[in-house]
């Protein structure tokens, strides 16, 4: 059945029930009563008490209720499901429902937050940071913040359930079909083998398709199971944007001690992430934030802690970047500031810290690429000359407002991101993939996670072809059906390009060895779990935390209009080492796209499209200067190793480089994103 490429709104059947979620009107409190007497008899009303199994969605030891258990923890929390064959009746039915609340006015805020709101924490300590801080009074201290970011994916989000041959089949655009199956089984109180999940086209996603389809799948399945009729739930674009997921805001306090040569003696980083009313993937978010903020800088005394804070907002931590883009922003802006206090060029200062072959966890990187990447972007952007020139111009200038010219600045950021989970979560299921070579030398690779992007399919086919000596055209990749495929875990954190690619290699190498010893077909399955446990200790944060790393260096040059305070990016130069790159042109295209996305986040725009560049007119031109900021992307070491993720590293470094460039342009220390002309104005008005 070729349903993988249909969208969920195309699933329909005569007599199908349409489902609507009735959501809470208040941000915190409890439900006093629900009155349904005025609701038409043609409307099915389904609440938490109707759930035959367990009312929860579980993700790696964390959970949230499917429908409110009586308590309201955020505005918009699902309370009831209403269903009808005629969707036009649902709006009226919702109005006729009377839900009374006992409102709790003590909302859980992010700033300030109490200790009770800490859901989870992670951290590491090296050397003796307390002693180092006691022995000096030359301290650089700052606080950095990022706000949330929501996605604008337009493809429909929902789920469709029907009963076929006594089993429930759920269609949904998920990136984790086996999680949908386990959630539906638990909510319905039936065995997983009674459920089949088929993935529909998820389209581009930012994290909202990892867990939320499980919630919707369980809702559709619950109504279908109760009535025996096909049932479909579709979220409105507003619901998707507000209630699925968004990027977790962060507040980072960084305190550092520098010696006379500008080296960091001690460093203390304290991060607080807002995760909303329910936290999911919290441990992974915190681990990644701690590791990437520790980065490659060799500091003898360091303390890093990260905490997840529960608030009265919708859940918001599962988003592309998962803690890394936020922590790298704070780290890199802070370290550029340290370079300035040391009166060193930030390029030189960062290069002086790339001599070590280890990262903060002690993981040894034999071919540390950062110095090379820094040299590349410094050369390409003419960083030294521009930085010195802009520095001199700024020092001669009296004030931003008095300037009659564009104010220019240039900033640099470096760092790494990791591919794959830091630790395989404790789950009964092993995540893996399966490969079978048949008698006609046809190889089938089975991955239960997703509709694999074409670029990754190409990588797998080429690698399998190279290892087995067969044509890439004779490799087939099967995805997206829980009945026939192995559980491959969720599609996130660079898993497909890195982790699954290494599993494809392992499967193919096994088949190659067995090919002339065993009769065809040869079938092999390889799981993620085995090799990982020996190399990483999550309690001490020592060892190799990721399957592999993606490294990057980015320079951003900006100019600011002194009258309008609208920043404009004059150029971005980026160099990445993401391991093996088969198709450089396509890799550059992905990196550019992520850079534009990151820029939109940093500049407070909805998303960067050419539309947002129409607003300024260059003197002497009749037409608006409609263009995207010029971006140059280079990939180093692209012929070696496993491929690594590109999106995350590309979008994690740009905001820091952008903000440090604007700081140089204006002479004002910016410490948060997004930076709009209004926020720039407020910074300029603050007493220095």
């Amino acid at each position: 059945m070729k349903n993988n490429y249909r969208f969920i709104d195309e699933f329909t059947r005569k007599g199908m029930l349409h489902i609507k979620i009735v959501r809470a009107d208040i941000p915190r409190g409890s439900i006093a009563s629900i009155e349904t007497t005025n609701v038409s008899e043609n409307i099915l009303v389904y609440d938490a008490d109707d759930i035959e199994g367990i009312n929860r969605v579980v993700v790696l030891q964390e959970e949230m209720p499917l429908l409110s258990d009586g308590n309201i923890n955020y505005e918009g929390e699902p309370i009831l499901l209403i269903a009808s064959e005629d969707p036009s009746l649902l709006e009226t039915a919702e109005r006729k429902l009377k839900i009374s609340y006992e409102t709790d006015f003590s909302l859980l805020a992010f700033q300030p937050a109490s200790e009770d709101q800490i859901v989870d924490s992670a951290g590491l300590s090296r050397g003796n940071p307390s002693k180092a801080f006691e022995e000096t009074n030359q301290i650089v201290e700052a606080e950095y913040r990022t706000t949330t970011e929501s996605h604008v994916s337009r493809a429909p989000t929902g789920a469709y359930a029907e009963i076929n041959d006594g089993r429930i089949t759920v269609y949904t655009p998920t990136h984790w079909p086996f999680h949908v199956r386990s959630t539906v089984a638990e909510v319905l109180g039936i065995e997983q083998k009674e459920i089949r999940v088929i993935q529909t086209n998820p389209s581009p996603a930012y994290g909202e398709k990892v867990v939320y389809p499980s919630t919707l799948g369980a809702m559709a399945a619950a109504i279908c199971y109760r009535t025996g009729k096909a049932a479909r739930i579709l979220l409105s674009p507003r619901e998707v944007e507000k209630f699925t997921t968004r990027k977790a805001p962060v507040a980072v306090k960084s305190t550092s001690i520098l010696n006379e040569e500008g080296k960091i003696i001690a460093h203390d980083i304290h991060m607080r992430f807002e995760v909303g009313a329910y936290s999911l993937f919290t441990k992974e978010l915190l681990n990644r934030a701690v590791i990437t903020s520790g980065s490659y800088y060799q500091v003898p005394n360091v303390s890093i802690t990260a905490e997840a804070i529960r608030t009265s907002n919708p859940p918001m931590n599962l988003y592309r970047g998962l803690g890394v883009s936020q922590s790298l922003f704070a780290t890199e802006v802070h370290f550029s500031r340290l370079a300035e206090f040391s009166q060193l060029n930030p390029g030189d200062w960062k290069k002086s810290h790339t001599k070590s072959k280890n990262i903060i966890t002690g993981s040894h990187i034999p071919n540390m690429p950062l110095e090379k990447l820094l040299d590349t972007v410094i050369d390409q952007s003419d960083f030294y000359r521009k930085h010195s020139a802009y520095e001199q111009i700024r020092r001669r200038r009296n004030s931003v407002k008095a300037s009659r010219r564009f104010l220019r600045g240039i900033g640099i950021a470096t760092g790494f991101t990791g591919n794959g989970f830091t630790d395989k979560p404790n789950t009964q299921d092993n995540w893996g993939i399966k490969a079978t070579l048949d008698k006609k030398d046809q190889l089938v690779i089975e991955c239960g996670t997703m509709t694999v992007p074409e670029a990754i399919k190409t990588i797998w086919k080429r690698r399998a072809g190279e290892i087995l000596g067969i044509s890439p055209e004779s490799v087939e990749i099967a995805t997206g059906d829980t009945d026939t495929l192995p559980d491959s875990g969720p599609m996130m954190l660079g898993m497909p390009v890195t982790v699954y690619t290494s599993l494809v290699d392992r499967c193919c190498n096994y088949i190659r060895k067995q090919r002339f010893n065993k009769p065809l077909p040869i079938e092999v399955r390889r799981n993620i779990i085995n090799a990982r446990r020996t190399t990483w200790d999550p309690t001490t944060f020592k060892g190799v935390p990721f399957h592999n790393f993606s490294w990057g260096a980015v320079v951003t040059e900006v100019q600011l209009d002194p009258l309008t305070l609208v920043p404009e990016v004059r150029g971005i130069w980026a160099a990445f080492d993401c391991g093996l790159v088969y198709d450089t042109q396509y890799a550059v295209s992905i990196a550019e796209g992520s850079i534009y996305e990151a820029l939109a986040w940093a500049m407070g725009e909805q998303k960067v499209t050419p539309r947002y560049y129409q607003d300024y007119v260059i003197e002497g031109q009749d037409q608006p200067n409609l263009r995207l900021p010029p971006v140059s992307v280079v990939f180093a070491n692209r012929a070696k190793g496993l491929p690594g993720g590109i999106n995350e590293i590309a979008e994690s470094l740009v905001p820091a480089a952008f903000v440090t460039a604007l700081s140089q342009a204006t002479g004002v220390y910016f410490d948060r994103i997004p930076l709009t002309s209004e926020t720039i104005q407020s910074y300029l008005e603050e007493p220095s």
Binding site: P204, Y596, V631
Partner: protein, 159 residues
């Protein structure tokens, strides 16, 4: 009310009301599934159609406004040589739109190439400025459209 117009080269008749948007009529009543009614404010571009040779976003037009007009959608382009030009251009320049926005990107490209076979990057970005999908990098897309123009020029000259 009943309206008549030409859809992908065929005369059609449809029953509609004054409050129905063109995208809804095409998608729901006439089964044009390449159109995605999603934003309803001309932001996403996923409902782009060519109306009397002009590119329009069908979520912004009332259905009755298309009386006695000619409309082309992705379905009307997909089996033509023009489509091959566009897809070849996209492929050469690594512009791989997702399944959701591909129809809109094809329709918009077709509309650009109907006005000129040698579009500038500025013209392309202007035309695409009413669309958004995170799947495709605009630089690649612009190069893909230019390359598609080259394919079409070559094909027409060879004739």
């Amino acid at each position: 009310m009943k309206i008549r117009f030409t859809l992908n080269g065929r005369a059609v008749e449809a029953q509609t009301s004054t409050s129905t948007r063109l995208v809804d009529m095409l998608h729901k009543d006439l089964q044009i599934k390449s159109l995605h009614p999603s934003c309803y404010d001309g932001q996403c571009g996923n409902c782009a159609v060519i109306l009397n040779g002009e590119l329009v976003f069908s979520c912004l037009l009332p259905a009755f406004a298309v009386q006695e007009t000619s409309i082309y959608t992705y379905e009307g382009i997909v089996n033509t040589l023009e489509y091959n030009d566009i897809i070849s251009g996209f492929h050469d320049e690594k512009a791989y739109p997702c399944a959701y926005c591909l129809p809109a990107k094809v329709v918009i490209t077709q509309s650009i190439l109907e006005s000129t076979l040698d579009p500038t990057e500025q013209e392309i970005l202007e035309t695409f400025s009413g669309t958004y999908c995170p799947c495709t990098n605009f630089n690649n897309l612009a190069r893909g459209v230019i390359r598609a123009g080259e394919y079409r020029r070559r094909r027409l000259h060879e004739r």
